[in-house]
Symmetry: C2
């Protein structure tokens, strides 16, 4: 609103464009008589105006009926007129008042051509004008771009949306807000369980003072600037599909959905392809770091359409952890679901890292007879060197935790949970032909911990054999070190194989680099890998690692033998030593299997004396 | 054809019903004049008949245009008439001649009421009759059912169809034919590669003399009696879907497709549901036994619609192997894809059985220094007792095979192939939460054998350590025996879990029983399991097995330790000992993992002192 010549049309059009909604010029709703009257130099009286304002009000109702918003340019000089314009509208009207003085506007109108209102009517407009009581007051002497930016800052809209206020969603929202991002936050409404979650959360933290909370999906979407950028932090799987179907109804071409959940990489590709048909971009991104990492800086692994990624890369880079050189622990991973793929492998590696620490704990405690506090000290001392890792550090903390005079660890049930990604990594390994023996042994160890109570009756005992545990503490450390290298070697082999298989062209060094901070498997070893992968695509190509493996192999062997003697469960250590035994030695066994397959199924075999790879069949009987 | 009163209408209708095609009575094509003339007692002359025969011929053309067959009842007494009837028909006409003597027919007609032809015209018919040169001659004095059965036996149709003449398809076809089943055989036509396969195959074996060969799918389907029973022995996966889409066009309601390939159980359920919409039954069946088993009697594992199964059960039971009590090694498994599921697990168990033998071979050869022939003798002696199994027996044969003065086994490349079912079992285990560590270790051993040449550079040596291999031959045998039990325990646990999960209500004892003969994993152990599962659903519930495991555990431990010392690759043995160590002892490690998960992700944990299963969270920092 504003007097004639205040710039309503220019600013209104620009604003509508910015908000991606329709623009209407109030002048277009004048009757022919009004236009003639104004052209002849006579000011309109209130009766002239009533039909005109009614016509604009009707148009507004029509727009609202379609559940849309619009920008109207209209002088709306008196409060009475504004009451007519607002009459019975179910959507809120926000008045933007273009304010300026007579001389400036007079000067501007004098320079304007083809307008039907002669400048000498301006005086009557200023006389008629009643400034609105509330609304956005804009200095019309500013440049249009400045005016729009000023209006946008005052408008009740957000730059970025986030859906799902679980542990990770909340941390990411606070992280974004701390980085100055104005957020719209949505959480579903579940009667008695999840009520008004977003607003309660906003009230809790000062950094969220500019955030808007929603339980109505449509209002949530409409509160976000175009193109919308919406982070989904909801449960992976079926629920994500259901939610996408819901939100899709309110999205428009060019909008960007970012799935930060632990979705399966094949689902991510499917969703990407499906949403693209409606012009909606879908970015699948791994996010690692747990609650604290998400708040203070997670490792972020986005993939999908690169053009869409560029539009959100600033947000992701700002909230991500920083590596030792200050670079963001976020990088564009590749096309399709590659981001979720590597997050899955990250979690798989994490499974085996955790299992190796748990086994090392068991070896030290039940093999060497150390107490949890002593093991904690040992782990802390290991953490000062090459073995430094987040998981080892938190385990050292865990082992110090007491409840009364008991170690808290002894009160925790020996039954591990799992959430799908370790499982998927094993499946991906089997599908792509990569023996991820370390990850799988860790996954199955968790499964076994869940089902072993079923078998508790069968000869269960916890007697520690009286034979001394021969392997030394140093050997236990060396064995752990070697097994970790093999775990990482297998995980990155799987990534490399997937990259080749799906033509993703992944950069192993960058992947290792963004895993050096923020994420759960950050470690000194990962920093080393980020360097090594600059020049090679396999741990086994690196001479230092080969040396380390050679040096530490006998330690691993001794730890395994001593642990077997004491009947300690060490599946991941055993997987490690067997992997080395296959790779380092030449004791064929697969020839027996090929002969058997050829015997009973005529599956044929290849020969050591024919490098052409030709297949042979023998009539065995 | 035949004189009036020979029973053409009765037999024709019955035949049409049996063949599920339309029936037409020639009498209905007479003009009114002819009918009157016959009723008045005058015989028809050739001119009277010409229009009549033309009318029938036209009807036949109409039927053929729709690509259908039909049964026509028509006296067709003279060769000249038959020429008119057959004129320009693109389908072959098969003449069925109902033959009998004057007195019998005269007697029959005299007893008949409401027929327009007076018995005294019969004589002129006999005078006119020229017997056909070729066709099926039927004694019309037999009972209608006998006549139909006689005609069906002479008709050029089959009881059973079989698609896909690969190694397994050919063996099953011969097996069916030897059991007196008249077959239609189809193999696709691939120029230059697969041409006229079915007919070439039929010519090769005398038992196939009554079989029909096809390369045209429509003709193949039409040559099979209703409801069609068609065995598919084609490549599993996408190709099976493509083929089903093709053959579906020619199938009718009530037809039964039997998929005997190694299809994934989820695909089988999907296909079942989809085909049922068109009223077509789909039976998914596992078939094990390799080339020889399929020919001489495989183990067969059908699942799906039980009513449809009953219609094919005779065929399957006849060709299946027989157990030691003479019962067929075929049983109805359960609904959906349960048959393919257990076939998958069968193959998974097979993977681990083969791997255990291969490892035992390596232990005996590289650990104990035995030669292949010595190992063969040892395996043969083991095969006389509890350890008797098909796979051990064929391995004993394999180890005797020479090429010149070399052991053939030494000429076979140390690189094992795999075809998906071992892979799927690992995936099913991970999806259903069952740690199938034995199967997975065997699968990954095959994968490793394929990729280890990539790493051949890294410090590869085949030096056998000079330290003596401490474990004895008896311990090696006992270790193998124990590991096999654990392999079977895991495999059947997976089946049990799937049965509960999918509500399949599977009978473990019956499954073990049909695996006691015909299939690759048949063994004395399997016979024992068939007994045990009559009273329990887990190997670990059996006191004898518990005793055996307890007795043999130290042997397994020693074999593993000695093998580690010699750096022999023994993944499945290690999986076995670790499985026992988890189940038999109480050295917690999962508590560490739960604490870590709660530390970084607030995943919570349960406590040893709260049996309610409540979840706790600790603020660790």
């Amino acid at each position: 609103m504003g007097v004639s010549g205040s710039g309503k049309t220019t600013i209104g059009k620009l604003l509508a464009e910015t908000l991606n909604i329709d623009f209407f010029d109030g002048d277009d709703f004048h009757s022919e008589e009004n236009v003639k009257k104004m052209a002849s130099g006579s000011p309109l009286n209130d009766s002239d105006r009533e039909n005109w304002l009614d016509a604009i009000n009707s148009k507004a109702k029509e727009i609202i009926k379609k559940n849309k918003s619009a920008v109207f340019a209209c002088s709306a000089l008196k409060e009475a007129y504004r009451i007519i314009l607002e009459k019975d509208l179910s959507f809120k009207v926000l008045w933007i008042y273009l304010k300026g003085d007579f001389d400036f506007i007079h000067q501007r109108i004098s320079e304007r051509k083809g307008h039907f209102m002669p400048p000498n009517l301006l005086k009557s407009q200023f006389e008629t004008l009643e400034e609105p009581i509330k609304g956005i007051f804009v200095n019309l002497e500013s440049q249009p771009e400045e005016i729009i930016s000023f209006i946008m800052s005052k408008l009740n809209t957000s730059e970025f949306g986030l859906v799902g206020l679980g542990v990770m969603g909340k941390s990411l929202a606070r992280n974004l807000a701390k980085n100055g991002v104005k957020l719209s936050l949505y959480n579903r409404h579940v009667v008695g369980l999840e009520e008004n979650i977003a607003n309660k959360f906003i009230e809790q933290y000062s950094e969220l003072e500019h955030a808007l909370g929603f339980e109505d999906l449509e209002k949530f979407v409409n509160a976000i600037q175009h193109p919308r950028k919406i982070f989904l932090m909801i449960k992976a799987g079926h629920e994500t599909d259901v939610f996408i179907d819901q939100i899709k109804l309110f999205l428009e071409k060019g909008d960007i959905l970012i799935d930060g959940g632990n979705s399966h990489y094949k689902d991510t590709k499917r969703r990407m392809d499906s949403l693209l048909k409606d012009g909606i971009h879908f970015i699948g991104t791994g996010v690692s770091g747990g609650e604290k990492g998400a708040l203070e800086g997670p490792s972020i692994m986005p993939s999908g359409d690169f053009e869409a990624y560029k539009k959100i890369s600033n947000y992701l880079n700002n909230i991500a952890a920083k590596d030792k050189n200050g670079e963001s622990c976020c990088t564009y991973i590749g096309p399709e679901g590659s981001g979720h793929f590597i997050k899955m492998v990250h979690n798989g590696i994490e499974y085996a890292e955790m299992q190796l620490i748990a086994e090392t704990f068991a070896i030290l405690r039940y093999g060497k007879g150390l107490e949890p506090t002593e093991i904690s000290s040992l782990f802390k001392s290991w953490s000062n060197g090459e073995l430094k890792s987040y998981l080892l550090e938190i385990t050292a903390e865990i082992l110090l935790k007491k409840e009364g005079d008991q170690n808290l660890i002894d009160l925790i049930l020996d039954k591990a949970g799992n959430k799908g990604t370790g499982n998927w990594t094993t499946v991906a390994g089997t599908e792509l032909g990569i023996p991820v023996t370390m990850i799988t042994s860790a996954l199955f160890a968790r499964y076994l911990s869940s089902i072993k109570t079923d078998y508790i009756g069968i000869n269960h005992h916890s007697v520690v054999s009286s034979i001394d545990f021969k392997a030394s503490e140093n050997e236990i450390k060396a064995a752990y070190q070697l097994a970790r290298i093999l775990n990482h070697q297998q995980g990155f082999s799987l990534i490399k194989t997937a990259s080749d298989h799906f033509n993703w062209n992944l950069n192993l060094s960058e992947i290792a680099r963004i895993w050096t901070n923020g994420c759960i498997i950050r470690s000194v070893l990962m920093e080393k890998l980020a360097e090594i992968f600059k020049n090679s695509s396999d741990v086994f190509e690196n001479i230092d690692f080969i040396k380390e493996m050679t040096n530490n192999k006998s330690a691993l062997k001794n730890v395994c033998k001593s642990s077997l003697e004491k009947e300690l469960p060490i599946p991941s250590h055993l997987a490690a030593i067997d992997y080395l035994n296959v790779l380092n030695n030449n004791f064929p066994t697969a020839n027996i299997i090929q002969a058997q397959r050829d015997f009973f199924g005529a599956h044929t075999y290849q020969r050591v004396d024919d490098s052409s790879g030709k297949f042979y069949h023998t009539v065995w009987e």
